[in-house]
Symmetry: C2
Subunit: 190 residues, 2 copies
C-alpha cells in the first residue's frame, strides 16, 4: 500500500538500525483518519471472508484493531499478557517469546470471547519474528475458531517471521513490507 | 444515554460491591459497532467545539478513544504510564494516584504531540476519583492547550471525582452515571 510506504518514508525514524519509530502516527499518537484508510484497505482484502471477530494482542495493537473493525462491524478481542502462571481454566493461553525484550510471556483470552463459530482476522502493528501472530493463531486453534488471515501494518520481511507463517499456510496481508533499513540508507520496501 | 445504561444493566457484572466488570463490551472485548454509536453521541455533544486532538491514558482507554475520534477526524494521543523518574525534558509529565491499586504513577506525553494550538477532548472509560482526568488536564495546562471537556463512558458518581472536576470548571459528559451499586440490588443510575 503506497500510502503506508510513503508515510513511513516521511515520518518514521530509524534508531540503531533495528528499531523503527512510528510513534507520531501509529503508536503514542494515532492518526485516526489515516488508520481508517488502512482499515478500508483491509476490508477490501478480507471483506468477503465472513469475519466475525478481530483478534489482537495488547497494548499497541488495540487502537489499530478497533479502527480496523469499523468497516467489518465486528467486535475486537485482545489477548492480555500475563506473567502469572496460576490462571483459571476459563481462559485460552499460549506462550510467546519476545525477541525485542528477550523474555517469554503468556498471552490469554477468556474462553467466552472466542468460539468455534468464529472466523477471525488477526491484526497487529508490526510483524517481525511472527511470534505474536503464532501465539494468537494458537489461541484460535484451541478455541476451534477459523483464522481467515492476518492484517499487518508494517512487516519487517528480513526478520523472516512473515514468510515462515505463510509457508505454514497463513494468509498475511501487510500494508508495508520492509526488506532493509538503516539510519544511513533509510527504508527499502519490497 | 439510555443505550449505555441498558448495556450495563444487561451485561456488566458487579464484583465485591465496588468493581464493575465490563470486559464483554468495553474492555478485553470491545463491541465496536456499539462504541461507534457512543462516539456519535460524543460528537453530537462536542462536535461544534473545534476539537483538534483527543487525549486519553493507557491502556484500556486507547481503543475507545480511537473509535471516538472517527467522527471528529482528529488524531488520538495517549499518555503513557511510567515508573521511571529519569525522563528527558522533551515530555510533559504529571503524577496520578490510583485509588484502585493504592499506588502513584507518572504519566507522560512527548511535547510534540500536544501544543498551545490544540483544543483537546479528554476520553476515558471510567470516571471515579477523577485522578486520570485531572492528570490529563494538567498535561494540557503545561502545553498551553485548551481542554474543551471530557467524554466518559461510565461515571461512578458516588465516588465524587466528576463533581469535583465540574466544580473546578471542567465540562464532563458521561454516557452512564452510576449513583449506587451492589451485587444484590444491581446498578442505580441517576
Amino acid at each position: 500500500m503506497k500510502l503506508m510506504e510513503d508515510r513511513i518514508s516521511q515520518d518514521a525514524i530509524i534508531e540503531d538500525g533495528e528499531i523503527l519509530k512510528v510513534g507520531s502516527f501509529l503508536n503514542q499518537q494515532i492518526d485516526v483518519p489515516f488508520i481508517s484508510r488502512c482499515a478500508e484497505e483491509f476490508h477490501r482484502l478480507f471483506g468477503g471472508e465472513g469475519i466475525t471477530r478481530i483478534l489482537t494482542i495488547e497494548a499497541s495493537g488495540i487502537g489499530l484493531a478497533c479502527l480496523c473493525a469499523v468497516p467489518f462491524r465486528v467486535p475486537v478481542v485482545f489477548a492480555k499478557k500475563s506473567r502469572s502462571s496460576n490462571i483459571a481454566g476459563e481462559v485460552y493461553t499460549s506462550q510467546v517469546f519476545s525477541f525485542t525484550h528477550g523474555t517469554e510471556h503468556r498471552i490469554m483470552i477468556p474462553r467466552q470471547f472466542l468460539t468455534s463459530a468464529d472466523r477471525v482476522l488477526l491484526i497487529d502493528d508490526f510483524l517481525a519474528s511472527g511470534e505474536a501472530l503464532r501465539g494468537l493463531d494458537d489461541l484460535c486453534r484451541q478455541a476451534g475458531a477459523c483464522v481467515v488471515g492476518a492484517g499487518v501494518f508494517v512487516e519487517k520481511v528480513y526478520q523472516g517471521g512473515g514468510n515462515r507463517l505463510r509457508e505454514a499456510g497463513m494468509r498475511i496481508e501487510s500494508l508495508a513490507r520492509i526488506t532493509a533499513m538503516s539510519p544511513e540508507a533509510g527504508v527499502t520496501f519490497g
